[in-house]
Symmetry: C2
Subunit: 162 residues, 2 copies
Amino acid sequence: MSDGAERLRTLRTRLLSLAAMHSDRRVNEQLARADARKWHYAVLATLDEFGPASQAQLSDRTRVYRSDLVAVLNELADRGQVDRAPDPADKRRNLVRITTAGRRQLRRLDKILAAVDDEVFAPLDPAQRAQLTDLLTILVDRQGEPHGERHGEPRNDRGGSS
Amino acid sequence: MSDGAERLRTLRTRLLSLAAMHSDRRVNEQLARADARKWHYAVLATLDEFGPASQAQLSDRTRVYRSDLVAVLNELADRGQVDRAPDPADKRRNLVRITTAGRRQLRRLDKILAAVDDEVFAPLDPAQRAQLTDLLTILVDRQGEPHGERHGEPRNDRGGSS
DNA sequence: CTAGAACGTTAGTCCGACTAACGCAACTGG
DNA sequence: CCAGTTGCGTTAGTCGGACTAACGTTCTAG
């Protein structure tokens, strides 16, 4: 009844959510076959790209919470894909570095993710895929600083300083 | 190192996931202000659109698991937004109907969701929003029947009863 | 030297996606 | 008519991800 039929099917936030849910599920399933999860990939890719880093830096770059990062790094370290050593320059920090095995794993995961991307976005032609990437990039990039609204949300457990 | 820098930042499945995470968070936060969650909205909207239905039908239409639907319906019923009565035609079923209060709530949620949509997709102009909707719709629509493969997967929730 | 912030870590909460099993009603066919 | 099977609602519980709180240690500023 009412005017607004089709509400659910066309609700943009819902479409986004459903599409992502499907994508995530496929990603997780496939990564699991290589004994990995999204976070493992995020960490390995970040280390490979930016070089050795502290856990705090990794957390910022991957958006994995520092508390959750601990377990991820434990797992990666157990598998010899990263090594973690105290930073001589600052004993609070661990310096995390990717290993050769880590790079090998990273390449494997890259392939898996490329395949998943192909599968998940198969319904779109290349132009549409590029479009989608652009649109999502815009959204993700602006997502911290929304349209002029300011409510000082206490980010995590860090005060902004210096 | 390596060729593929920027992997993370441009990984499409990740962009989708991040965008959806942000969107979902905003949706949930705002719906919470009206004492509701996504599922409540999905159920109310579906009932309003298709009329009274059994829980199994609702589950299919909203993609909420039948097991989770129970709690949602309890909550909606507690608030007088739906009523649930045994279907005389088939005593296994409950016939769920939206009430007047339910319609009122639905209108409220519609407004909230429209506002969230505006906020979340603010970085996009109207044409881009429409584009995004189209692309996501394609993805979501094809998501059950991928690239020509059909195998009747054992949907089910039944194990072998003994 | 002392206050506070940054760091890694542990523990724990909350919620959503998903599975298993069960009791009951209903349809199915022998 | 009465088994077997399937559909239905419900309960319970797993698993993983997002997120918070707190703690001991180490660094940094005043």
